[in-house]
Symmetry: C2
Subunit: 183 residues, 2 copies
């Protein structure tokens, strides 16, 4: 499974592509950052982010896109830009028919470090180890995008079973997952 | 001057097109709402909003797009969706090279009613009067989109003079507008 992770931001939008399946070693395909000028108008910055993400999707053809779920309790000044950049990432993926998953920062931290409260350095160190890199990816946004992709690869099987359970339950007119839903 | 106003939202994205210049009667070209299902995934909803806005831009060929500026001090649950829908509107406009202007809700209210604290009914009543409509446009999101377009038409001359002043000042290595900047 090849996943493109996006750590959304207007100034630095981290992008990382990881390949792998649960229980097998992961492989980093590519990592980088789409940058836009903080002094420019938002509308133009969104166009540059769209162009950047499209290039990454064209170049690496992921099967799924994982985007950080933005919460509004964060820094009020930056959260709007983060929400807007995440909208562009979701739009680019969904327009191509790619499945889009949102993971919260604590889900991502818990997936790669075992703790939902891990700091940036810890996430960077684990991403480096899990992908067998020579050094932590820089900037931190790039490392976070890889962590998102890893989180998605590891969470996807459980996530898919849950979706199937809901679909099966909906098909039967019920809403609770049943025992046979993971088959 | 023909302006397309967007009152951004994931469930109801109000769109209104108004034609006119300062000091002349305004004319409503079209008004409506792009709706998406609140039960669907955000990524797919953003694709539908993009498609809807593109259709409006194709059909009405505005010279500028005015979008409500989203503040994060609003309702925490809806603000993220509003920010994401506004990103799609800005993206669609900027991709076509159209100028994008952001106006705050109080700027819009002040432009059409004279008071930045006017309520929905007052805005609806003034939009109806200014555009000589038989009844206030429904839903309120549609009326707000028209109000945004009106606000932009009336603010644009001042806004353009300010931009020119800044450009002129920047060209001289100064940052303050000078007396000849509006010529």
């Amino acid at each position: 499974m090849r996943v493109l992770g996006v750590d959304p931001g207007l100034t630095r939008c981290g992008i990382g592509v990881v390949e792998g399946t649960t229980g097998r070693p992961l492989r980093m395909v590519a990592v980088g950052v789409v940058r836009t000028d903080a002094g420019s108008a938002t509308a133009g910055r969104l166009v540059l982010i769209e162009r950047g993400i499209e290039e990454w999707l064209d170049a690496h053809r992921p099967e799924a896109v994982a985007v950080e779920r933005v919460f509004s309790q964060h820094n009020v000044r930056t959260v709007m830009g983060t929400a807007q950049a995440s909208a562009v990432a979701m739009l680019c993926a969904a327009r191509r028919g790619l499945p889009v998953a949102l993971h919260t920062p604590s889900e991502v931290k818990a997936a790669v470090t075992g703790s939902g409260r891990a700091d940036k350095a810890q996430v960077g160190a684990m991403v480096t180890r899990l992908l067998r890199l020579a050094a932590p990816p820089r900037p931190a946004d790039a490392a976070d995008a890889l962590a998102l992709a890893i989180c998605h690869i590891w969470r996807a099987p459980a996530h898919n079973r849950l979706e199937q359970a809901h679909a099966a339950a909906a098909g039967r007119g019920a809403v609770r997952p049943s025992k046979d839903s993971s088959t």
